[in-house]
């Protein structure tokens, strides 16, 4: 740490030398209380450090290397392949590109819809009405019902897809497909554009969106509950309408949680079991191909996309939130 920063120093120790000295038994600061506490604290997080290095950093390096090489399972040897796997994933693999773009566009829509919907639901659940607790219980249920193996299991096999497409082509017998007919109506009358397509996509996916927004609702709800009621009282006295106080008080107070929720939603989406890219990677890895190198390359591409997404949304949201403060 340089001398210039010394004034704003946030640690009790100064510089790298002291950071090392606190672990050296003979040193000057070894027996001071802060040094002792630092050592204890280090012991507390030691499991994490070991695990992170052994089961995260090392596999990451291995898989990065694997993605650049041809890997044979039987012998476990790797042959350097350059960017061969990456070019294969992009140029030769028939499905990967398409799946990737599909998933990304689906995710962009879903993330926005999830954030909006969970915020609206949280605001409603924060009001007082009968059956509020029951609603809260039910809205949190998707955390259980859409975890792990459960989502997408019923549409995963090929015969079931056949059934689904059959029932789609015959038209839903139980009722008219409302969103599709409205969409037709709008497109006939010339109103519908790309925006409407996106909106209808959201409406059709509302089940998935509700199922994905359990945690987000709770996080928003806790944020809403932490707003002090005196703020609303003051606004009310000053003649603020409910609509105004929503935009001037509720939204700015909760907006820091937007970032947390946004990141959570993106990660959740990327790791979901019904995610087609993940399925594809699994197929490459355990299927007929057993090509670990290619699987590693494809998951690295996917991870890169995820990080880029998180970075972009974090950037946008943090700027938007700052302007409110």
């Amino acid at each position: 740490m340089s001398k210039k920063n010394k004034k704003y120093r946030e640690h009790w120790y100064s510089g790298i030398t002291e950071a090392f000295q606190m672990y050296l038994p003979g040193s000057k600061i070894y027996h001071t209380i802060p040094a002792r506490r630092a050592r204890v604290g280090f012991l507390f997080i030691l499991p994490f450090i070991i695990g992170f290095i052994a089961f995260m950093v090392r596999p990451l390096i291995i898989s990065l290397r694997m993605s650049f090489s041809q890997y044979t399972i039987k012998t476990g040897e790797m042959v350097w392949n350059g960017v061969g796997n990456y070019t294969y994933a992009f140029n030769t693999d028939p499905d990967y590109n398409q799946l990737l773009t599909n998933e990304i566009s689906r995710m962009a829509i879903n993330v926005i819809a999830t954030l909006v919907l969970s915020f609206v639901i949280a605001v409603i659940l924060n009001q007082k009405f009968k059956g509020r607790i029951l609603c809260r219980i039910i809205f949190f249920l998707p955390v259980i019902l859409s975890s792990g193996v459960l989502p997408g299991i019923e549409t995963s096999s090929s015969s079931l897809n056949l059934l689904k497409s059959m029932s789609d082509s015959m038209g839903d017998s139980s009722g008219v497909n409302l969103s599709a007919s409205i969409q037709n109506l709008l497109s006939v009358s010339g109103v519908a554009g790309d925006v409407f397509d996106v909106i209808f996509q959201m409406i059709d996916a509302i089940y998935d969106i509700v199922m994905a927004s359990g945690i987000q609702i709770i996080v928003f709800l806790s944020g809403l509950q932490s707003i002090s009621p005196s703020l609303y009282e003051a606004a009310d006295v000053e003649g603020c309408s409910a609509w105004e106080s929503f935009w001037k008080i509720t939204f700015p107070m909760v907006s820091p949680l937007l970032l947390v929720n946004c990141i959570y939603t993106i990660i959740d989406f990327f790791m979901k079991n019904d995610n087609q890219v993940m399925e594809h990677i699994n197929d490459v890895m355990y299927g007929v191909r057993m090509d670990l190198g290619l699987a590693a390359a494809e998951s690295w591409i996917y991870f890169g996309v995820a990080v880029a997404f998180i970075g972009i949304s974090a950037f946008i949201i943090s700027r938007a939130v700052k302007s409110y403060e």
Partner: protein, 338 residues
């Protein structure tokens, strides 16, 4: 807020009387209030129904006999109730064994995860040591990095497991421990299990909220660090720890990724369930119901999978009904301090 005032103005007058005196304002507001609550109730009911309806339809479907599946007059209530489907699925998923295995593995791994995560979270929340920011950034990275990225590398690590060359020295070569539970236990104990980054984050958030003076008082009274942790911090943190435990239990129960990669030596429910769509055809063909029939129709196999999903969900839903307070409240406890 203003409701109390209006009642106060004309307490023993009728509603219309008061409405006249307020110049129609009262009626207008009343209509607004009622319409808002009706819209709200409709919205809530619709969304709640949407969440629950798949479970209900699965339940009703599971009780149907085969002919009911094709009867378009039957929507929800089966005409011919049968429990035979359950027996078929139970056999297909090797039920008692797989469920018990899932239960004990979930409990063991969740305990390992939560013990290690609590320790680490406490370390992050209370102590100041060099590189703390860096390590915490690693925790965040742990949340972000999808485990699928390192899937193939972990596969390779554990099929040729070698602890710093010690095992090679003893047995003369790396050993394959991928199908045993030990790799996963090791990962859980070192905070690398399923969603461990999230638990560390949640617990740290909680520990940061506990007033520091509590520990200082303990220190003044001659309580050591470990003693303080076990005697003062842990009892208070029990609700949030229980909540993390429940999360980890539930997610482990339904988890496919780690079960498929590391716990292949055990018959677990989730992998069996995920393999069911492909398997169910052969199994149904073998039963007396469809003897001689080679291909199974989709509706029938969909029914079987629904039952499998029910088997997976129902224990969790029962658990959730009893513990929903722990789930929701303690998450709210940490969430407010993000």
């Amino acid at each position: 807020m203003s409701k109390d005032n209006t009642i106060f103005i004309g307490e023993n007058k009728s509603f219309w009387d008061r409405n006249r005196r307020s110049g129609g304002y009262l009626l207008k507001r009343r209509i607004k209030e009622i319409s808002i609550s009706v819209v709200r109730a409709l919205l809530m009911f619709g969304l709640c129904f949407m969440i629950i309806s798949p479970m209900i339809s699965r339940l009703s479907m599971s009780l149907m006999q085969e002919q009911d599946l094709y009867d378009s007059t039957i929507v929800l209530l089966p005409r011919n109730i049968t429990f035979e489907n359950y027996a078929i699925v139970a056999r297909s998923c090797q039920l008692p064994t797989s469920m018990l295995n899932t239960l004990w593995i979930s409990i063991v791994t969740s305990i390992c995860q939560i013990v290690s995560c609590t320790l680490v979270a406490y370390g992050f929340a209370r102590f100041d040591f060099p590189l703390k920011k860096f390590w915490f950034a690693c925790v965040v990275a742990l949340i972000i990095i999808p485990p699928q990225t390192i899937q193939s590398a972990l596969y390779q690590t554990f099929t040729r497991f070698d602890l710093f060359g010690i095992i090679t020295a003893i047995t003369g070569g790396p050993i394959n421990i991928r199908s045993s539970i030990w790799p996963y236990i090791m990962m859980c104990l070192t905070c690398m299990g399923l969603k461990d980054g999230l638990y560390i984050y949640m617990l740290r958030q909680y520990f940061k909220g506990v007033p520091e003076s509590l520990e200082e008082a303990a220190y003044v009274d001659g309580c050591g660090t470990l003693h303080t942790f076990f005697k003062i911090m842990l009892p208070d943190a029990m609700p949030i720890i229980a909540s993390c435990f429940l999360f980890s239990f539930v997610w482990q129960w339904t988890d496919l990724f780690y079960s498929r990669n590391f716990l292949t030596g055990y018959k677990l429910f989730a992998p069996l369930l995920s393999g069911m769509p492909d398997r169910i055809g052969q199994e149904l063909a073998g039963t007396s119901l469809n003897a001689g029939q080679q291909t199974v129709d989709p509706a029938r196999s969909l029914q079987m999978i629904s039952i499998g999903v029910l088997f997976c969900c129902v224990p969790l839903i029962i658990l959730y009904c009893f513990t929903q307070r722990t789930f929701v409240e303690s998450l709210a406890m940490t969430g407010s301090k993000e």
